[in-house]
């Protein structure tokens, strides 16, 4: 893996492939260790275990010859969890007090308020988790980061939500495109930014086709649309002079979901680590970065993201989400 000579003046990649070298047995051992020690330590070890699992999965994903690195710490997860619990307790207590009230209107109001509260927190959670995840990911010692702002994102998010509801869902291709576009444009690897040039209208035709075919295909067409959407997001993402490419197909996603479900069910859960790895492997194998990929010109960005807003996102972060490492 390691080159024998310095890469200071090595030619840039023409195509950067991603691959996953994780193996089931080590991941299973990590999961079992996490579960057993979490029981023994009344759940405290789970933060250490989750960090170890995440570090393993990140280290086993390679861009070219380089391993991704995960730098998040268990204490960050623990503190984030405590903060999230504190907020959830406030929601819970308010909701509980409202349910004690005899008035049905107060109960309905409480349910509405609960959902509104969750909706209001969504931009905060999405931006927070993206910023946290990226700021703890590195490649070749250079950190990823996000300059996304909660205020800007909230405007985009609520506007998109409003139009999606107003158009009975027909605006959702633009909504998803704008959300991904904003987060991608604000993603950086070191001092270099990612860019995004996708447009929602490209997804509108496939989206309408999916809606028409949902019932006749017993919803299986949604896998085709998910793959189409994923290809759209990746193919419109650039990094410097290089562009991402994604070849994932709906049938691959469908088979992955179906076979993973069988794998987990028939092994009584033991097969879960293999399901995670298979999924990660599919994501890696169907994505590449082509063009002039000159990583040697990337420098460390000295200003990091602030910690504010990251805490809630921490508890909602998805393990092994390699799309996050690409800013997608």
């Amino acid at each position: 893996m390691s080159p024998d000579v310095s890469e200071q003046n090595a030619p840039p990649y023409q195509t950067l492939h991603f691959h996953c070298t994780a193996e089931g047995i080590p991941l299973l051992v990590l999961y079992l260790k996490t579960i057993l020690l979490s029981i023994f330590t009344l759940g405290i070890y789970s933060f250490w275990g989750r960090t170890e699992i995440r570090r393993y999965l990140y280290n086993e994903v390679l861009a070219g010859d380089d391993r991704f690195e995960w730098h998040g710490t268990p204490l960050e997860l623990l503190i984030g969890w405590l903060k999230a619990i504190a907020i959830l307790i406030v929601f819970y207590v308010g909701f509980f007090l409202a349910t004690l009230s005899g008035s049905e209107w107060v109960k309905i109001g409480a349910v509405l308020l609960l959902y509104l509260g969750i909706f209001a927190l969504m931009p905060f959670i999405l931006v927070g988790s993206t910023r946290y995840r990226l700021s703890r990911t590195s490649l070749r010692g250079i950190r990823f980061s996000s300059s996304a702002r909660v205020g800007e994102f909230a405007k985009l998010y609520f506007k998109g939500l409003f139009f999606t509801l107003l158009t009975l869902g027909f605006y959702s291709p633009w909504f998803a495109n704008n959300i991904v576009g904003y987060l991608t444009k604000n993603t950086r690897y070191g001092d270099q930014s990612f860019n995004y040039d996708g447009e929602g209208k490209t997804l509108f035709g496939p989206y309408v086709a999916m809606l028409f075919l949902l019932l006749p295909t017993l919803y299986l067409i949604s896998f085709w649309y998910l793959a189409r959407q994923q290809r759209h997001f990746y193919c419109h993402t650039t990094f410097g002079a290089a562009r991402f490419d994604c070849t994932i197909r709906g049938r691959q996603l469908l088979w992955m979901m179906f076979s993973n479900a069988l794998l987990v069910i028939f092994t009584l859960g033991i097969g879960y680590p293999w399901a995670v790895i298979r999924n990660l492997r599919l994501q890696c194998e169907t994505v590449r970065l082509y063009g002039n990929v000159d990583l040697t010109s990337v420098n460390q960005l000295l200003t990091g993201p602030t910690a504010t807003g990251e805490a809630l996102g921490q508890v909602l972060e998805v393990e092994g989400d390699i799309g996050g490492a690409f800013g997608l």
Binding site: M1, S2, P3, D4, V5, S6, E7, Q8, E23, P26, V29, L30, L37, F40, T41, L42, G43, I44, Y45, W48, R55, Y56, N59, D66, R67, E69, H71, I85, L88, I89, Y92, F96, T99, L100, S101, G102, S138, L139, R140, G141, I142, R143, G190, L295, T296, S297, V298, N299, Q300
Partner: protein, 356 residues
């Protein structure tokens, strides 16, 4: 041994030679420059199965050396084990984790009952009433209650006499519900429910008064409030940690939450005997009532369940006899015909027999 060096400033990769020397790792870069990282100046990250090693310069800002050749990894680890002073970092973490677990366990064991007691103690009566009302309407809905004006009047007399003797901030609402269960329960804030199954096994208004006095004591001593608070806190914690906790607001969940401990029952018994005496009622009625239920209802699982957490019948009779200092001063609560009206109201109502 060779590795890849990243300086943490740019993503450029440099090849380095590694060797252990002078209480640290000596790095010779491709440009010929040599740097020395003492053991304490880096953190060693090992992958599962030791497929690679990463030396991260502390504080870590991206400067690191990655060794991926299996032979070099094995050789380096061997040398490090011999040369590096045992940092014992993982042992320290394990010790801290163990300590934290013991602390959390101890805090839960000792602190949780205290928290429950404090919350139940400081909860205002209005809050208890709201909580009790929610439970009462759920477990004893209007449609299941016995509706008979004569029986209601008789019950009101019993409740009124006990309430006057008890004083305190609570307004008591007592319902009789159509169910064959031999049971009664008290919800916070003064809401009490007696099932027809129990009414049919009592012999007099005094025995009914004894049962109510016992339930009122659960309200006065906030046993029901404490039990509900305990259940709510546990279920909320389980729900927040994603390990369960659903079902608090269903019937089974609420009935479970009203299940009291033996110490609460003993304390309610003691308070009930005093309350009966203050109300001018014979405390022995309580022991007689429970003795009859115990004797006649051995084949009823519901009845045994009701008695299971109560003090033994023998000790109750002893306590009641001790409490009944001067039996001559006690006056019966209801006439036999008034008591019959209550029982008849129950007999005429079709029992639902849904059980707990």
């Amino acid at each position: 041994m060779t590795g890849s060096y990243f300086d943490g400033r740019s993503a450029a990769r440099q090849s380095v030679e590694l060797r252990l020397a002078g209480e640290g790792v000596m790095l010779t870069r491709s440009d010929g420059s040599v740097v020395h990282w003492p053991f304490h100046s880096y953190r060693l990250q090992r992958s599962p199965g030791d497929r690679f090693l990463r030396f991260e310069r502390a504080p870590y800002r991206g400067e690191c050396v990655l060794v991926e050749s299996p032979e070099d990894v094995a050789r380096l680890l061997r040398q490090l084990r011999q040369a590096e002073p045992s940092a014992g970092r993982s042992k320290r973490i394990a010790a801290w984790l163990l300590l934290a677990s013991v602390a959390v366990g101890a805090a839960l064991w000792a602190g949780f009952p205290l928290l429950v007691a404090v919350v139940a103690r400081v909860a205002p009566v209005s809050m208890e009433e709201r909580l009790g009302r929610a439970v009462f309407h759920s477990l004893a809905p209007e449609s299941s209650r016995v509706r008979n004006a004569d029986a209601q009047r008789a019950m009101d007399r019993v409740v009124s006499r006990l309430r006057d003797a008890a004083s305190g901030p609570y307004t008591y609402r007592v319902a009789i519900t159509r169910d064959s269960m031999v049971n009664a329960w008290a919800a916070p804030g003064g809401y009490v429910n007696v099932y027809c199954g129990l009414v049919q096994r009592l012999n007099s208004g005094d025995e009914m008064a004894a049962v109510l006095a016992h339930e009122f004591q659960h309200v006065i001593q906030r046993h029901s409030t404490r039990s509900l608070v305990r259940t709510i806190l546990i279920r909320t914690a389980l729900s927040l940690t994603g390990t369960g906790g659903d079902g608090l607001f269903d019937t089974a969940g609420m009935l479970g939450a009203l299940h009291l401990m033996r110490s609460d029952e003993a304390s309610a018994d003691a308070g009930a005997l005093m309350l009966l005496r203050r109300a001018g009622l014979d405390p022995r009625a309580m022991a007689e009532a429970f003795a009859r239920i115990d004797r006649e209802s051995k084949d009823l699982p519901g009845a045994l369940e009701y008695l299971s957490t109560h003090p033994s019948t023998a000790s109750r009779i002893d306590a009641a006899k001790r409490a009944a200092a001067n039996p001559a001063t006690y006056h019966s609560m209801l006439t036999p015909s008034e008591w019959k009206q209550i029982q008849d109201a129950c007999y005429s109502a079709p029992p639902s027999g849904k059980g707990r």
